[in-house]
């Protein structure tokens, strides 16, 4: 059993914590760094940034990714931008304001000290990216441009057209490839981590399957960094890339790492509505569109006219009506729930009445078509390609979709999990966004963790290991893990059932979306848990995985991932059930005041961190109490 959860937040004033902590951290002397082997799993923003930075420092880094090249990680799809408290616009932004906005935006469920550090290093990230050649948008004078983004009143978002994630990832990837060329980082692509090896109480390595040859191998390291992304695909339909999954984090959880706040999932308000059963994923339309687009539905339930035939008086701009001061720029959770409300009322638009309008007519009339094209062109083209509708002529249709997961493996201030030597970075950890993430903050967090936090905190952990025996793969924990992974793989091939992996994944997703989606309640969550459990049993005995284990076999890869999604889905529902309050992305229908979320700070101002206790046994819930010394909790109001 786990003892008390120690956040290891350093003492002292909020503004000085990180500086003091860095100063008091132990250092590894340059000649000793190469004696340490660091394993990094994942090559998205967090993993690529960490691997590159650790390589630069002189550590021996082994990087694993299941992608065919680090360049393709899910981070590449981020569109809108990245926050940085530069205050280039002179509009009153500061580290303190970014910190404040993030704690408040997270609905007072994040650890203050982590958030402050994030805001502090946000400015360094922008410097780093620019130096790497990230082509951020510029003003005519040649200085960096900013825009306001998703629920903030200052313009602090840096962007590269609608491809910010791509450009930041290419920056991190280029830094990484430089370290590969220098021999500091060993790159292992198409290599899926399927187990964490914990030997003598420390994370000591990973077991990896080469997805092309099926070969299963063990790798030892002094520390293991997971930067393996979020778990939004537990809903099957989400904006996440098709291959994103929870397996790395989940297998670490099964080896003892606590999983925190799984019920904090973010539903993004501006996605293209689903069209049919064949729908394989949902496409995000960057919420920067909300800066110029107005969201509305018809006032009448039986509206049949085309959008441009509906007179102004018969349109309900519901966000502007309910939230006069933030209007269309309310945070994501608020925008999403309100869209759900109007669609549930039967006022949805489109052939399936499952969307709301996002209308550019006024912005086009005001700023002209070229200005709008310049701002959003690739997004609008993408929309037209997918739907066949031209957003310059008909308003876009949007609807909320699962987008991001705030929960993840529990980590302390050093980004280390409760398993010594296991660090978790980026979306895979639970740390900085509390119950709701603000727009343009995930890229910031992934890069903060990778470039500016882990290189210090991992070094400090390694300093203590100097002179101790290096972990090696002859330890029985490695052999045990290899056997287990090999058996599991064979197991899927021998079920020989009747339904495909995707079938089960889709069905799991429907349960999750129906009962554990945008609005949750006790009976629904209980129903979800019993349905997930039954479906999981059926999956294990009736899934059909054809082919063999020694060639590229995508069904086989997916079978293991979906198995983990089942277990995670169950925990997510349980976490949602036990959190008897509404906060951020977690909305319990029992806890509301006429649609507005009711938080319960007295009983739930804590992190719920779940401990695995064995197959078939329910996880144990631990708490890390949260204190708010600087930003005092208040009701979030965007009216």
């Amino acid at each position: 059993m786990i003892g008390e959860l120690k956040s290891n937040v350093p003492a002292g004033p909020m503004e000085d914590k990180w500086t003091n902590h860095k100063f008091s951290s132990k250092l590894v002397n340059p000649n000793n760094k190469r004696k340490f082997n660091v394993i990094v799993v994942g090559s998205g923003l967090a993993g690529a940034a960490a691997a590159a930075s650790l390589g630069e420092l002189g550590y021996k880094v082994q990087l694993f990714t299941f992608h065919d090249t680090p360049r393709r990680a899910h981070s590449i799809a981020a569109q809108g931008g990245i926050n940085g408290a530069k205050n280039y616009k002179n509009d009153g932004d500061s580290v303190h304001r970014l910190f404040y906005d993030t704690v408040k935006g997270g609905d007072y469920r994040a650890r203050e000290a982590n958030v402050h550090r994030l805001a502090e290093v946000s400015v360094n990230i922008i410097d780093q990216a620019v130096a790497q050649g990230v082509p951020f948008a510029r003003e005519y004078g040649g200085r960096l441009d900013n825009r306001s983004f998703g629920g903030t009143q200052v313009s602090r978002t840096f962007y590269a057209r609608g491809q910010t994630g791509q450009q930041l990832l290419l920056g991190a990837y280029s830094a990484l490839m430089r370290q590969v060329s220098l021999g500091h980082v060993e790159l292992n692509v198409r290599s899926e981590m399927l187990d964490l090896v914990v030997a003598d109480g420390r994370a000591s390595g990973v077991v990896v399957r080469n997805v092309v040859t099926g070969q299963v191998t063990a790798h030892a390291g002094h520390a293991v960094l997971l930067a393996t992304g979020g778990y939004g695909n537990v809903y099957y339909l989400s904006t996440n890339a098709k291959m994103s999954n929870v397996t790395a984090a989940w297998r670490a959880h099964r080896r003892g790492a606590l999983f925190a706040n799984p019920c904090y999932t973010q539903i993004h308000p501006t996605c293209i509505p689903a069209s049919d059963e064949f729908q394989s994923k949902l496409t995000l339309m960057s919420e920067s569109l909300r800066n110029d687009g107005r969201i509305w539905v018809p006032t009448s339930h039986d509206e049949t006219r085309a959008a441009d035939q509906i007179p102004e008086a018969e349109r309900d701009y519901f966000l502007e009506r309910k939230y006069p001061s933030f209007g269309n720029l309310v945070p994501r959770d608020v925008a999403s729930r309100n869209a759900k409300t109007v669609v549930d009322e039967g006022r949805g638009v489109g052939p399936l009445k499952n969307g709301v309008f996002l209308d550019f007519a006024e912005a086009i009339a005001r700023d002209g078509r070229p200005a709008i094209e310049d701002r959003y062109d690739n997004l609008l083209q993408m929309y037209e390609r997918i739907t066949g509708d031209d957003p310059f002529r008909v308003p876009m249709r949007i609807y909320p979709a699962v987008h991001y997961t705030m929960g993840g493996l529990w980590v302390d201030y050093n980004l280390m999990s409760n398993v010594p030597g296991l660090f978790v970075l980026g979306e895979a950890n639970f740390s900085d966004h509390g119950a709701n993430r603000l727009g343009a903050s995930a890229l910031m967090q992934g890069l903060a963790d990778g470039y500016f936090v882990a290189p210090y905190t991992v070094g400090s952990y390694l300093a203590d290991l100097l002179g101790k025996k290096a972990p090696d793969t002859t330890h029985p924990a490695f052999t045990e893990s290899i056997d287990q992974v090999t058996d599991q793989t064979k197991q899927w091939l021998s079920v020989k059932g009747t339904k495909s992996v995707d079938h089960y994944h889709r069905e799991l997703g429907k349960i999750m979306w129906e009962h554990v989606g945008m609005a949750r309640n006790q009976p629904g969550l209980e129903k979800a848990m019993s349905e997930i459990s039954a479906l999981h049993d059926e999956f294990r005995t009736n899934v059909r995985v054809l082919g063999s284990g020694d060639t590229l076999n995508q069904s086989l890869e997916k079978a293991g991932r979906v198995d983990d999604f089942f277990e995670l889905g169950m925990l997510l529902a349980r976490d949602a059930l036990e959190r008897e309050e509404s906060c951020g992305g977690h909305f319990r229908e029992e806890h509301q005041d006429d649609g507005e979320a009711l938080r319960d700070d007295e009983n739930f101002a804590h992190v719920a961190a779940w401990e695995w206790t064995g197959d078939g046994k329910p996880q144990v819930r631990h708490k890390e109490e949260l204190t708010f010394d600087v930003v005092h909790p208040s009701t979030r109001s965007y009216k």
């Binding site: 899910h74 040649g142 064949f278 390609r385 069904s555």
Partner: protein
């Protein structure tokens, strides 16, 4: 509401890197025209699994045209004939009922087939490794606004940087040349003030690594037609210019040292 199509697919199947490949024919009936091309293949695969046949291996990830993973040659054209569109962004409404569609992997000497429609494009990473970066360690960056970059320069760099590394340009080229990809990667950095210090070294190293893996460019322009990001051929001209200069400058530098 969407229409439905009945299609005949001729699909390349190959059990492994060293196995002999072959075309197989599948009837894809009742495909909704709102589906994407990959969703159409998902449906076909579901049916194959139902018939106890191994599904067709093809790669995709973002399905938003940005990650560069999807890589199908459709009716002889990498990513299909739709301009500026990656395979995953191609929708069935661009096809007609009764169409016959041939689906192959991206074909190029540098891209060996791994299985069915999946190929190995890691040669592209080797080009980046050779010099596709600006050498700046984490923490060593100056204040971001210290060097103004004219908007036109930043925009041009972004035009080049938009390349998604899919390799369609290589697959479309009769010589399997890697020029458009390399040009985009080199010029993104060479255009920016930050990229000047290593400009000549970078250009020579990346071009020469490219030549190890890829064929030579004879200015056909097929690469541009296949490119989902419509990367401009001008970048190849700039690359050639920079490469000639680089040879001279690097030799001078070498003789001085």
């Amino acid at each position: 509401m969407s229409k439905h199509l009945n299609l005949t697919l001729k699909v390349w199947r190959q059990d492994g890197p060293d196995a002999q490949g072959r075309f197989e024919t599948y009837e894809a009936r009742g495909i909704a025209d709102d589906a994407s091309f990959l969703e159409m293949l998902d449906v076909v695969n579901e049916r194959l699994i139902g018939e106890n046949k191994e599904p067709i291996t093809f790669e995709s990830d973002c399905r938003e045209g940005i990650c560069g993973t999807c890589s199908l040659t459709i009716n002889g054209m990498p990513h299909g004939k739709e301009k500026g569109t990656a395979t995953c962004q191609l929708h069935m409404r661009k096809f007609s009922d009764g169409d016959h569609i041939t689906i192959e992997p991206f074909r190029a000497r540098a891209f060996p087939v791994i299985r069915d429609l999946a190929v190995d494009r890691s040669a592209l990473d080797r080009i980046i490794e050779a010099g596709g970066f600006i050498s700046v360690n984490t923490g060593a960056a100056p204040e971001a606004n210290i060097t103004p970059v004219p908007k036109s320069v930043a925009d041009a760099a972004m035009d080049a940087a938009a390349c998604i590394g899919c390799g369609a340009c290589v697959a479309a080229c009769p010589n399997s040349a890697g020029q458009l990809f390399t040009a985009a990667k080199v010029q993104h950095l060479n255009l920016l003030p930050q990229g000047q210090a290593e400009r000549w070294k970078r250009t020579e190293a990346m071009v020469e690594t490219m030549e190890e893996y890829f064929g030579s460019c004879t200015n056909h322009g097929e690469c541009h037609d296949a490119c989902p990001k419509e990367i401009s051929l001008d970048f190849i001209a700039y690359l050639n210019r920079d490469y000639i200069k680089a040879k001279v400058k690097n030799r001078k530098l070498a003789s001085q040292s």
